[in-house]
Amino acid sequence: MSYTELTVWTRGIIMDKEGRDIVNSVSASARREGKHAQAMENYVDNPDRTNAPTRKYCRISDEVLENELTYENEHPNIVVLVEGTMVKGWDYMRGMPPGGTLIINTHYSPEYMLRFVPGPERLAQLVCVDAAHLAHHKWLYYRLGELGLDRLSTEGAAERSKLIAPDIAAPLIAAVVKSTGIVKMETILPMIANKNAFEMALSEMKIMQFNPVAV
């Protein structure tokens, strides 16, 4: 049986929708491929607050999910950091089994980012993708706040944009799918609004491979 957990760490309000788009699109694709999948947000991180960390979860299994009502992903195989500076300050690696994947939105290289990762021995790969750049949000490096794309959409009830992944979520989804093969490229691509950024990320993402060990 194959069972995979994907946990997305993002920042409240300014990138909340991005995080939600990643788990929603991956789980929708998995379901289309006939798997059992679930996407949900961390309930107590909400209502989210500007720049405060919030978590989004996705679970995919060949069989019926038995932990649908568990609040958190306890053993994430894949972790995505939607904003690069989140690499410091939280133990987002907690519970990751050996062989996991960490994906970071950053213009730095995996070699550079590795030094900040807690417990990196478990990783099979560290992926860096400059999602903001690829989605043409070049100024974002300087002003986090300018990412404020959809402030009022928190908790997803009244999203201003019905589009899935119109910007930085698209390259990150590409990185998730390409590096882990969690779902097929053909199933997920039609959902993505920013296909250009998605496709560019497939070639531009930087992957560093390791031999994972158990800790």
Partner: protein, 342 residues
Amino acid sequence: MATYIQIDPTQKLEPFKSVKKLPLEEYFTSGHRTCQGCESALVMKMMAKAAGPRSIILGSTGCMYVANTTYYSTSWVVPWMHTQLGSSGSAALGTSAALKVLMRKGKIKNEPINVIAFCGDGGGADMGVGAISATLTHAEYNSLILMYDNESYANTDIQLSGSTPWGANTTFSSPGKMKRIMHRRWKKNMAGMMAAGHPECKYVATICMSYGLHGMNSIRKALAIGGPTFIHSLDPCPKGWDYDPYLSHEMGELAVNSGVWPLYEVENGVLRLTGRTEQIAAGKIRRVPVRDYLLKQGRFAHFTNDDIDYFQSKVDDMWEKWLIPGVIPFRKDVEADPPPAN
């Protein structure tokens, strides 16, 4: 004449002379998870600093409860207690009454202790207005009720309150295809209402923490004057107002300079316009058009020019037609009594 009201002594809180002379001690510290650029959190910090360590602070449900006091990681150094959403008035009254009687009976040491109850605009201007009003009539209980007004029910994800400006986009008033303006109520004049309606209340003020020293000194005055007092603080909220957090300070300044948020205090029944508002009233500076204020905020992004004009005209009314500009909304008879030409 006999004294009917026994007001206990309060702490001597001289005004702070300048920002550089502020004490370094913090009584609201780390541990919270409010938004980056949250002005309400700044109000909490300044309020605690202004009040000092011999204080009890009560807070009603809202962002300043939920985001500030996660179990096991409180940000409060002074004693703090949660009160229900509409109970800030009752919390101030009950706490102050207990201190008064316990000291009188010698059950605790006799010393002045500041009592502050804060509430949001939802908890204060909507749900708790009755209890606040009642407390302001209990002249013998020393307390300060501070209403931090982020102009929405912010904690529950930005819903409109009686204190939300006309037309604003909130999650309960989001514009749609048929209706652009879903929120058609004008903001309550809370401080004016409290000042006009409670003659025994010795101090009512409006503040904005973009003018931090002014805000802190208002708080100190409110605590030192004795009896129940009320302060209404306008707090830019990057999440609810939808702007970049680095603009918070500027947003507060614009609110004051556009005349949307007049700063004043009513001390022992005497009204005084303060800060920039005083200068505007004296004609020393001109009001900035509200357009400059509104269009910086995503919650007004759906406004048309007509909407902005309407908003401007209401603010102009407030300055030109109100009996006391910015404070008391009774109309003076403009035609019969034109303002002196000078």
